[in-house]
């Protein structure tokens, strides 16, 4: 987790999904990062992305998602080392494949041209291209080096793009399947070793040793994915991928998958929901994925939350019983007659205080 300052200067707290990418492992120092305005591949509107620049490794783009505080939008802050950051939103930073960000600019096959000319004609911001690895371009473009290394020509290819998207889809599916299996296995192990207090979706990100150990433990438990589950997983993978595609590409992609738009409107099954949650707290394997922003809130609409809420309210001193107790205590402290209460309402304007007439003397001689 790290805190960063946005362009407006308002600090915010972000949970970085993929630690090795933002931290230089050898130096253990945080790689310098900055915020960029890039067109959202789905909506086409500009939004902020985080980019990192490092000499040692290739730059990457991160998607920022803001998670509202589950209880209060107004009164929350984070403590980061010795700083207090009073921004109620927690931000999730997840890596995103920069190729997705290029998709809104291309739709159909065009003529061969040099890359520089290509981006000029499409008015693609140069900062966005800085994050791009030139080797990646072969996924979307046909490359022609017939004129030698000095003049490499590119031509956007729809077929290549769809093939690339299919590869992505397969990766997502693989990941979801692995997760599903792991969950099933854990469930089985949990049932065998009663008393486990871990949530089945709990995972210590990045620690391979533990994962290996767990895998060993789970290995003897055989779990299978039935056809129904497999279909659900595929639907969910397509849904995830479509969140990174604009209208045009979504239609093309769905056509290639032999699906229609209705799948996106499908209410996600509970199975899919739990998958979403697990993905939110896990580092991503495929590196290109992120969860849908619409499913963010599901993390907090947990039925178990209400109990935790009550407890929190109680410990924070805003419980009902507490205030009542305080009230009676107050009442006990200062009993007042009805007369005293009515007297406090008298308009004393123009009446001077007694102390302005009589001075405080320790021993006054009483009249008469």
């Amino acid at each position: 987790m790290s805190s960063k300052d946005s362009q407006e200067g308002k600090p915010f707290v972000a949970m970085v999904d993929c630690r090795p990418r933002t931290e230089d492992n050898a130096a253990r120092s945080i790689v310098p990062s900055s915020l960029l305005d890039i067109k959202d591949p789905c909506t086409g509107e500009k939004r902020q992305y985080l980019t990192t620049k490092s000499k040692k490794r290739k730059p990457s783009v991160f998607e920022i998602q803001s998670l509202p505080h589950p209880r209060s939008d107004d009164y929350s802050a984070f403590f980061v080392q010795s700083r207090v950051i009073s921004n109620p939103h927690m931000h999730m930073v997840t890596p995103v494949d920069p190729l997705y960000l290029l998709l809104p600019y291309f739709t159909s096959q065009e003529k061969w041209q040099p890359f520089d000319q290509l981006i000029q004609s499409k008015q693609i911001p140069s900062e966005q291209l800085d994050c791009l690895d030139m080797k990646q371009l072969k996924h979307l473009f046909e490359v022609n080096d017939a004129y030698g290394d000095d003049l490499i020509l590119y031509r956007f290819s729809k077929e290549k793009t769809l093939t690339w998207l299919q590869k992505k889809l397969n990766k997502v599916q693989e990941f979801l399947k692995a997760q599903f299996l792991l969950k099933q296995q854990r469930k089985a192990v949990d049932e065998r070793n009663t008393g486990g207090a871990f949530n089945s979706t709990f995972n210590l990100g990045g620690s391979d040793d533990i994962a290996q150990e767990e895998k060993k433990e789970c290995d003897d438990v055989q779990c299978k994915i039935d056809k129904d589950d497999e279909r659900q997983i595929k639907y969910f993978a397509v849904q995830i991928l479509c969140e990174y595609l604009g209208n045009f590409w979504r239609k093309e992609f769905l056509k290639a998958q032999a699906m229609d738009d209705s799948i996106l409107g499908l209410k996600k099954s509970t199975k899919a929901k739990s998958e979403t949650q697990s993905k939110e707290v896990k580092p991503e394997v495929t590196s290109t994925l992120s969860t849908s922003s619409s499913s963010d809130n599901q993390l907090f609409s947990n039925p178990g939350m209400s109990e935790a809420d009550k407890l929190m309210h109680y410990t924070m001193g805003s419980g009902e019983s507490n205030t009542e107790e305080q009230k009676t205590k107050k009442r006990k402290e200062a009993p007042k007659s009805a007369g005293l209460k009515s007297l406090s309402k008298v308009n004393t304007k123009g009446m001077k205080s007694m102390t302005s007439f009589f001075s405080t003397k320790p021993k006054a001689k009483k009249a008469k």
């Binding site: 007659s337 007297l343 123009g350 009446m351 001077k352 320790p362 009483k366």
Partner: protein, 258 residues
């Protein structure tokens, strides 16, 4: 050690009743020869001062001066348990945090004792000098109570003006105006007399609600003495037999903009 036995327990009962609507907390200051209370209301525009001489008690013992801080509402609740004819005895140790109140029925066949928790009240008493007032009006306490009660129907403030003619209580409010004029009256009974002593005419304005709470002391004595001078607090004094008094001081309303 403080101990005071009052045969006419009713007096102490009435005193506290006469205080409780005006002050929330007060100190009973006990010395070798008297028991006194001085306290202001929460707005500090009025002051009540009680004095009972040691001679008025059947038995009065106070080894060293002591301040007993009490809540008037709580004290009043306990005194409600005392009968009007009961003998009331007050007792407190020098370092006590409670005041013992003992109620004995006239036939000595019923003895009740209560303990009232005391509190520390950090209030320095105000020094009230003996002053000559321009006007002094002595009148039956019942009459004063009636005038105040009647005028309260019409408004919140009343003007008390003392002239050669007599003393005039005037009120003006939304539904109309009212005046009550009292003239000198040398009745046979001392309690019925209205005696006005005046050097210069005085006219002052007061909040009726405060005056109304002062009249809670009416039962303590047959007469009331009002003392007034321009621009200083009025004194409403109820003498308690021959051995004490309860005095109320109230700041006049001075309207700069009226």
């Amino acid at each position: 050690m403080f101990e005071a036995r009052l045969t006419q327990g009713k007096i102490f009962k009435q005193l506290i009743e006469a205080l409780k609507d005006l002050v929330q907390d007060a100190n009973i200051d006990c010395s070798e020869d008297e028991l006194s209370i001085q306290a202001m209301d929460s707005s500090h525009v009025s002051l009540v001062q009680v004095n009972l001489q040691a001679g008025g008690f059947d038995h009065f013992r106070c080894d060293r001066t002591i301040s007993l801080g009490f809540n008037s509402t709580n004290m009043s609740k306990i005194l409600k348990c005392a009968g009007n004819d009961d003998v009331i005895t007050l007792k407190a140790e020098d370092t006590a945090d409670a005041l013992t109140l003992m109620f004995e029925s006239p036939g000595q066949d019923r003895i009740a004792d209560f303990e009232l928790k005391l509190m520390d009240i950090d209030a320095e008493p105000l020094g009230i000098p003996d002053t000559e007032y321009q006007c002094t009006i002595r009148m039956p306490s019942g009459e004063f109570q009636r005038i105040i009660r009647d005028l309260q129907v019409l408004g919140d403030t009343c003007v008390i003006s003392c002239t050669k003619e007599g003393v005039r209580f005037s009120v003006s409010g939304d539904l109309g105006t009212g005046n009550v004029l009292l003239r000198n009256n040398a009745a046979e009974k001392e309690e019925d007399q209205v005696i006005i002593e005046m050097e210069e005419p005085v006219e002052l304005t007061f909040a009726l609600r405060y005056l109304n709470f002062f009249t809670k002391a009416t039962s303590l004595g047959g007469s009331v003495i009002l003392s007034m001078s321009p621009e200083v607090p009025v004194v409403v004094e109820y003498p308690i037999e021959e051995f004490g008094h309860i005095k109320y001081y109230l700041a006049p309303k001075i309207d700069d903009d009226a």
